[in-house]
Symmetry: C2
Subunit: 197 residues, 2 copies
Amino acid sequence: MQFARPLADLIAQLERLPGVGPKSAQRLAFHILRTPEDDVRRLAEALRHARESLRLCTECQNVSETATCPICADPTRHRREICVVGEPRDIASIERLNEFKGVYHVLHGLLNPLDGVGPDQIKVRELLVRLEGQVDEVILATNPTIEGDTTALYLAKLIKPVGVKVTRLAHGMPVGGELDYADNATLLSALEYRREM
Amino acid sequence: MQFARPLADLIAQLERLPGVGPKSAQRLAFHILRTPEDDVRRLAEALRHARESLRLCTECQNVSETATCPICADPTRHRREICVVGEPRDIASIERLNEFKGVYHVLHGLLNPLDGVGPDQIKVRELLVRLEGQVDEVILATNPTIEGDTTALYLAKLIKPVGVKVTRLAHGMPVGGELDYADNATLLSALEYRREM
């Protein structure tokens, strides 16, 4: 015997989360046992509700409660500029600037052939479909990492023949860094000096 | 607008966990969105079930599904030796050795006056009640940290006048370390060379 079964079950479930090893799973589990029951119920409900109620926006593929996300549904955003990002959380980084008034496209991943992530594993086809409409510019805002640069190059090659202007966030950001961690000033200059590809 | 509401809710709930900051809460939340619905339901259920079904053993105060925990209910364990530990997880460390055949007492904390943890905040009174029965030895197996040593000293002073032998795990363990992280050999020698206080 080690732990009571419900406790062992909880530890096993927590260990499956990214970045949570056996020791931190134990610590989290014991924390849960000391947490008021109502709070634990709220956490359990938030997990289930988030997973069950959220889907991908049919236009930009961002995580959304509705078929069309609030940004795509906003009539004041112009649809001729599409900012392409790797993950939904990257949208929050750009929205924070209050500068970009176009719409987004979330790839849900970056090209990484070694890990078996090719164009079919991310939302590339969905982006091409959108370019059939009236689009003036595609801003490639993937991370300035190897995967992000590879993805940007790949998309630029694919999109330019369609006749749409393709730009990339300026390398004002520290190379190898992640969009998600950039400060506003750096991101802002990167957006301002975006260069055509 | 930043995140869809169910997602923002989930991030807020995850941020309340110990060691989970805003960034890791976001990462965990997006991981949840990519996890199969059944797995998320299982995690939510494990959280709720662990919190709702577990209580403290009426004898040793360990976390248990039943009024008396499996160790206290085991007729082959002798009740004349009580091993006192700070947290339920410390029991697993000692049980792993397959050496100790007595029973446990979980304090659920260690004395820490600066944090306002005095004898009334941990399960000291419950330990004294148990000493009214037939007890030959109390082994103080609290962590060899300032809080653990303080707690051991305090308990030794309290218990010795009752006429019960009080021992402390030998300092075979690295000072300042935690029981929870000790390897078996170290813990075993610490148990073997326990000294009377």
